[in-house]
Symmetry: C2
DNA sequence: AATTAATGATACGACGCCGTATCATTCTAT
DNA sequence: ATAGAATGATACGGCGTCGTATCATTAATT
């Protein structure tokens, strides 16, 4: 998770240009995300985030008020990120494979770990992730099932989603296995579809 | 999660009896479990654990060395607790219902949250929970499937387990819903069995 | 050009929590 | 019975981290 940046970059002092401010915001939030994903909220330090973002703590507090503020703003932007990938004229099978692959990525696993761990302190984050992540996945699965089968789409989509997660996803959450390959994700997705009788072999 | 104990209990000073020592051990580990489940490892304080256990910090450090030692010993005992419920001459359907109900309990959800959050710091805990919890569940499901169907038991058992968890379990982990009733658990279990063609209605 | 705003570098105060020390007290061991 | 071991009550040192303050520096503003 540790991106070996070229540390010796020093930034100019003094008041920055407007572009400089925007750049600082982005770098702070990027560093915050990566730090929160790796260490969780409690164990991530503002000093480290500042160092990674090539910014002093003063700037962070000037921009976001406090540590919670950084987290909250980062969470706000995640809603857009997680729900991305809006265009998707795929088949059900390739959609399922892509969902599996994405869920097993280091980014998503780290995010889910973080959200689960901090669900009591930041309940809104859990809601955000669920609505814009999981539920959107289910909805898109339902669209495809509806288009290809046209019956019982919603219920079957949620069932399918549960299978797409599966025990391997759980093992990944627990840190017991490494991320899977795209091929393995496709294989798992196909197996899940088969279990539910949703393979491309038409029913009748 | 806060059990409103009767606080004014004061314990005698001085060297305790042997039974007293055993009692202290239990109370410390009980308090540790409840605190770690509620706050996570980082946010749980030894002072609070000591207060809950009616013991001074000195005793805790005398018994377990440090905070990590308390956690490790608690984890060791969890292996036995999680794998409990060994006798189980149930039907597949009632077994599935009991698994669902158990997984949604506050204890199990808190434990899984803790394990996922601390999977990097305490990887052994994740392995323990998975082997003695999930895998044992899958194995028992496989036994029943094997007995009732006698074909493809292991693969189907893991698939079934994924469905038994399902999106509701995920919502529970995220703190989005409350624990379900035993009836709801049974309904969910039956639905999962039906999706996989494993209901009591014999296939042929 | 002069003034104001924002930043970097650095130090530091405040706070929380881990772990230890001290003294009185009670049980165990011999 | 006497000495030693373990505990409660309490205080406190040490450390890490959050958040703020100071001064020099640079850009925006007027």
């Amino acid at each position: 998770m540790e991106s070996a940046h070229s540390e010796p970059l020093e930034r100019k002092r003094g008041r920055p240009t407007e572009a400089g401010r925007i750049e600082r915001q982005e770098q702070i939030l990027d560093a915050a995300l990566s730090n929160f994903l790796e260490y969780g909220f409690g164990n991530a330090t503002v000093d480290r985030i500042a160092a990674d973002a090539r910014v002093t703590k003063r700037t962070i507090y000037s921009y976001f008020g406090n540590k919670d503020g950084v987290f909250t703003e980062m969470q706000r932007r995640l809603a857009d990120t997680v729900s991305g990938d809006t265009q998707n004229p795929d088949t059900l099978e390739s959609l399922a494979a892509r969902i599996v692959f994405g869920l097993h990525s280091a980014q998503m696993i780290g995010l889910h770990r973080l959200v689960i761990a901090e669900s009591l302190r930041f309940p809104d984050l859990a809601r955000t992730l669920h609505d814009n992540g999981d539920m959107r996945h289910v909805a898109r699965l339902a669209e495809h099932i509806d288009a290809e089968r046209g019956w019982g789409a919603t219920d079957r989509a949620e069932t399918l989603y549960a299978l797409l997660l599966g025990e391997d996803y759980r093992r990944r959450l627990l840190g017991l296995i490494e991320p899977i390959t795209a091929d393995a994700a496709a294989g798992h997705a196909y197996s899940a579809l088969k279990h539910l009788g949703l393979t491309d072999v038409q029913v009748r």
